[in-house]
Chain length 501, copies 2
Amino acid sequence: MSELFEKLQPHLDKAYAYRVAMTMLNWDNSTAAPKEAIDFTSKAMAILSGENYKALINDVVKGLLQQLSTDEENAKLTPYEKAIVKNMKKEFRNMELIPPEELQAFEIVLAKAYPVWEEAKNTNNYSIYAPVLEEIISYTKRFAGYKQKPGQKLYDVLLDEYEEGFTMEILDEFFCQLREALIPLVAQIRKKPDWISIDCLRKNYDIETQKKLSHFLAEYIGFDFNRGVMAESAHPFTTNLHNHDVRITNHYLENKLEDAIFSIIHEGGHALYEMDIDDAITTSPIGGGTSMGMHESQSRFYENNLGRSMEFWKPLFGKVCEFFPEELKDVTLEEFYKAINYAKPSLIRTQADELTYSFHIMIRYEIEKMIFDGDVDVKELPRIWNEKYEEYLGMTPENDAEGILQDMHWAGGSFGYFPSYALGSAIAAQLFHYMEGVMPVKKYLEEGNLVPVREFLCEHIHKYGGSKNTQELLLDTVGEAFNPKYYIEYLTEKYTKLYEL
Amino acid sequence: MSELFEKLQPHLDKAYAYRVAMTMLNWDNSTAAPKEAIDFTSKAMAILSGENYKALINDVVKGLLQQLSTDEENAKLTPYEKAIVKNMKKEFRNMELIPPEELQAFEIVLAKAYPVWEEAKNTNNYSIYAPVLEEIISYTKRFAGYKQKPGQKLYDVLLDEYEEGFTMEILDEFFCQLREALIPLVAQIRKKPDWISIDCLRKNYDIETQKKLSHFLAEYIGFDFNRGVMAESAHPFTTNLHNHDVRITNHYLENKLEDAIFSIIHEGGHALYEMDIDDAITTSPIGGGTSMGMHESQSRFYENNLGRSMEFWKPLFGKVCEFFPEELKDVTLEEFYKAINYAKPSLIRTQADELTYSFHIMIRYEIEKMIFDGDVDVKELPRIWNEKYEEYLGMTPENDAEGILQDMHWAGGSFGYFPSYALGSAIAAQLFHYMEGVMPVKKYLEEGNLVPVREFLCEHIHKYGGSKNTQELLLDTVGEAFNPKYYIEYLTEKYTKLYEL
């Protein structure tokens, strides 16, 4: 190890410890903590966040990073070390620009926002959430302003944080292509509303049995319960203390079996990415997935490209029937396959079908643009939300709980995050297309053997953690930069066939 | 607030945050963390422990504490602030003497010891645990040596950490009195082995229903689930992030109903103490219970003085029958009361009856004395353990799992802790005796009204947290220093009556 890099190590170690502690407290906050804990707990979280800041953003680290960036010193580094230095310089710049006391104050706001959002959602009361949301937006704008480069648009600052280099210009074009292809496709499907029946998913599916099924499915796709935990939360999510402690949650609806099934496969896809990261970089700043878009590509890959294919369910459907022998006794694999791919405009993003999902993202993208690239009153957002749903999906939410209150992201301060869901699907399709060319993916699925697929992803993407960015990973894996055409082709082919259009 | 004390605040805040983080990770480690997480998680815990050390043990804090101890400056402090300074000076002395890198290394050993102990217990394999235990003892001896005052015995250093001022001299005398009173009492009871039947507790009690009953009982004694969490672990324990997030665990045995019942009442007693602490000191170093002995007095008070009384069950037994209508349909309150007070020498401390419990403590006390005040080979401990059980309780464990491996304490580095269990019972009896003189405790219990009892404990003991020590609390509450005679009288009277001796 370079002598100079060694001097960086204690700073990295501290940051790792704070990250583990904060992740743990956040996880607990969403899955287990008692209701009245938050005031005193968030005080501790704010202090940890401040200490984390101080561990990384100080003159010693700045000096070390500068020295490590000289050609002579940089040449002495291993590829991982180079990536760590690069990552830290970016992080340093981003954090250096935000005064630590503002960051701490923001952490407190965020810690308190989650339960407020949860209550607002449960009681369908946007008005108690609006002031908190406004405060979060105000902080986010201020922080983005600090980071803004000359000529850079405010919302592009946010987008760049989740997916390096993906600006409004690129995303406008991406969504435009999607719209052009999908609007006519959805219109055709709308003409055949009864082509697929989803009755088989709408029975009374016992929640406890759904939990057992979720556990089974997570394990089936490769989630290692010796290195992971599954729990319940309002909205499914994945987090990790490190690559040997990866945690997923699920939620359960008695009469929507597909919800728990595809949420757990989705979160499981995220989890596999984290579990596969090279132990050599676990505790370093590049010890996690490289970006939101790439992360989402892995969850979508498992959820949709694998999980909603006929081949995936061939060896598996019998197993599902064992969990619900009564409910599924007269259901054929064919019926089940069609039901889980039923496409119909709907109101809830996380329950949207694979085809209309992108519209939900477009709506959020456009609203975020209005917030950060335009000027909009937070109180007006529910109205705007509802109007856009009417425009794109032909339906208006009956209340805010099934409207603007459905996602936790904004309550967590995540703006610019949503587009990565759509990017993720597109990347997943691009990877899937390539993999089908180099290995018999569908045959493996039919055999119930997910190992070669996992190994490919591990070898080409997962293990690298944050040491390569999305474009680098794509180029090195499929030999081509990001290209949305595979996604559009995939959806068009799949739904044309499914609906016999 | 004193200007000088204000300068101490950021150091206290940091220590609070680290304490919350470490408590959280420890809790998770025992209740939820996946098996293979520990190596990377313990690295983070060790770093946090080191940072906690640095936050409190540094020249700035030392200087502040010295200044705050001068008559002039000390006079400006509130009683709480004075108590904080006093507590910190003691803590400072204790920590200053241990090199931080040794403390960090010890934390790593401890984090890894828990799963090793658990596996050793589960597989009845002392040999995999022995080297870890030896390492823990070696660290503990070294640390106690650092703290040892001239003429002070090594084991007295450890005892003092858990209960200020309680030395081997005092404990030898205490246990001697207990032995003299209890050995003949137990001998008399042994002559009537069939006087009480415990058949009613030995049926197949469904575990899930036991969990619900535990939840109900915790709530019944006042555990507030808006400020607390209940989970499952190998051995029941209580911990807290702060006084608004107090956590208890339980464990369940299908054919030993009393185990879950009294474990949850016991841990609930600990939890009430923490929940009742004044919010003004929550985040400070005196924001927890004052000592292990006083803590144990509260858990024992609820478990035994209240929980094993006839009056406690009068309004409650019918409720328990609702949880287990089949199993308890032919059982009378009288039979239940006798069964939960059945006294018989046994091998497992946590399942011991109220009367013979002290013998388990005596055995551990004597072994700890041999380890720290004498010289003994760790490999020999199972043999010594078994011989002592034969001597005091007339029975030998069949294997180490029901022998020396039963407790997690030593794996957690807690030596000198066990005696506080016996002290706790004695303090509980002293408090109970006094309270019966000032309020109709038994009448309240019969009415199912535990509020006045809780309020008394809150007002006189709980709310003060660590701002008064055990002797101060006792003097201010009952007007008398610690006196074991009430405990001996209580046991003698109770069991003489129960067994009609």
